[in-house]
Subunit: 310 residues, 2 copies
């Protein structure tokens, strides 16, 4: 086990900041997590926030920093562009954008774009997770990446042939807090993946997705007429939206997919996929993004000749 720092790997999203100090063999030497996501950091500036973390870590001045996520968006630190699908993930590192005026070597990984006119799509951050997931499960044809904006990705070897984003997580938040359902889904505890209301919701969303916007209101009516409680109602809401996503992704019983997730979402999606007869192999989301950041750095440094420096 190596203890010498090799890179600083960062997943810098809209609402979260996650940093790992890593050795050459992928050992995590230190980890920082905070809510200093893009939205919060925009005013303070990205570099001061990054440097404050690196100072705490006493990170050497020549230690390279690899960043993925919304820090590379137009509203982020430096726009890192998109690679169009079909996109070879072994090329994302060498297409990274170098932060030009920074005091140290910092690169930001580009996102991916699906430029289909009828339903265009983008990802930023997940491409790096996918690169890592590919190493964990190289023969997978599909990956499911649950989240605020869940991604369903079709793979052809290390190439992303296409992907679709579903607004599932953000819809759950908006519907449970900003609509009439706030009165029926109050509270904020985790949803229990074994709750029958969750699994019935999954099945209803999967088999009758056209009824979902009706079933949502029905949660309110079930509260009024049968006094269904908030935990049950939150579970049904979550199940309905995830089931609808599975219908949209066209999952079939017997299919094998990679599930890139951790925590509550890993439990909920694993249970939902099982309910639909899908065999999901779990790839921890944190493991995937760290591996992807490390691999991206190798791709970059192999191309730019930086590897010997590092």
């Amino acid at each position: 086990m190596s203890t010498s720092p090799f890179i600083v790997a960062i997943d810098w999203g809209t609402s979260s900041f996650r940093l790992w100090l890593m050795s050459r063999d992928g050992t995590v030497l230190a980890e920082h997590r905070s809510h200093e996501g893009m939205s919060e950091v925009a005013e303070r500036g990205f570099e001061p926030v990054l440097e404050s973390h690196l100072q705490i870590l006493e990170a050497p001045h020549n230690l390279p920093v690899v960043i993925c996520g919304m820090a590379g968006s137009r509203q982020g630190w430096v726009e890192a562009g998109y690679i169009d699908t079909p996109a070879d993930l072994t090329m994302i590192g060498q297409n990274a954008t170098i932060v030009a005026d920074a005091a140290r070597r910092i690169i930001i990984i580009p996102g991916l774009a699906a430029r289909t006119l009828s339903a265009p799509d983008v990802m930023r951050g997940e491409e790096t997770q996918l690169l890592g997931a590919h190493f964990e499960m190289p023969r997978a044809n599909r990956h499911c990446m649950p989240g605020t904006h869940s991604k369903w990705v079709s793979m052809d070897g290390a190439t992303v042939s296409g992907f679709e984003t579903f607004m599932t997580g953000e819809l759950f938040a908006a519907i449970s807090t900003k609509t009439i359902l706030v009165h029926s889904t109050g509270g904020s505890g985790e949803v229990d993946a074994n709750d029958p209301a969750f699994l019935t919701g999954v099945r209803d969303g999967w088999t009758r997705p056209e009824k979902t916007t009706h079933h949502l209101f029905s949660i309110r009516a079930g509260h009024l007429l049968y006094n269904h409680g908030p935990d049950e109602n939150r579970a049904r809401l979550s199940g309905l939206l995830i089931g609808t996503e599975l219908a949209g992704a066209g999952v079939r019983g017997g299919e094998q997919i990679g599930l890139v997730a951790s925590g509550e979402l890993q439990r909920l999606y694993h249970a939902a996929l099982s309910e639909c007869g899908v065999n999901a192999r779990i790839i921890d989301a944190d493991v995937a993004v760290r591996r992807g950041l490390m691999e991206s750095w190798h791709q970059f440094s192999n191309t730019s000749g930086d590897r010997k420096q590092a």
Copy 2:
């Protein structure tokens, strides 16, 4: 044309108050509209708000008041209960709740409940519109009543055999103002029913409702990749949600329905239904609710013997 006041008819919703002073033959002698809906009035009290309007109108003390809408909910003035489906609309007036401690004769019309265990549903206010709509279009088998919570109602003569609520209007508001789409759908102008983005959205929602939560995110991606503008994006969002509702309601080309609506929603739903080959006959929503309130009063007074008083 009669000019002698016969009843005060009120549609008292969550966020709006609409009052009509009406003669026996249905002529509108005066109209008041305000934002004094249930949410705003709860603190001030319902009776003071009502009396302030009646004083301006110089309404005689013995003039009866007929109310439908959320004022009859548990959080409203006096809970007016529900009639279960199948529900005979010719009975809603005689099942009205009398406001016991009011200084004048005030009745509140009950709502309807569909007590199906798998997807229960409720309405409150629309039952009165439906009664009016039934007089306008007595042979309709189905009515579509667009709104914050759109209702699709199956009729058997004057009996509501079943109904389903879709959260379409509330989802439009929540998604366009409380999610990432706020950056892509800014502004608040009316959606143009002839906008190709609206009609394409309707068709996508109707034919592929399982893809709707993906198509929502795609609006964001279309903004980022192709710089699609806010009006176009709002139109597509509206079309997707209405089209999904039409899929959930199971509309078929060639079907004839009653469309109980006015204003922007009347235009949008008429265009959407036409796009799906449905022949919708428009029933003005205000006409319907006034007619329903008048008929409810007749039902009530015929039963209670109040008619001769009035």
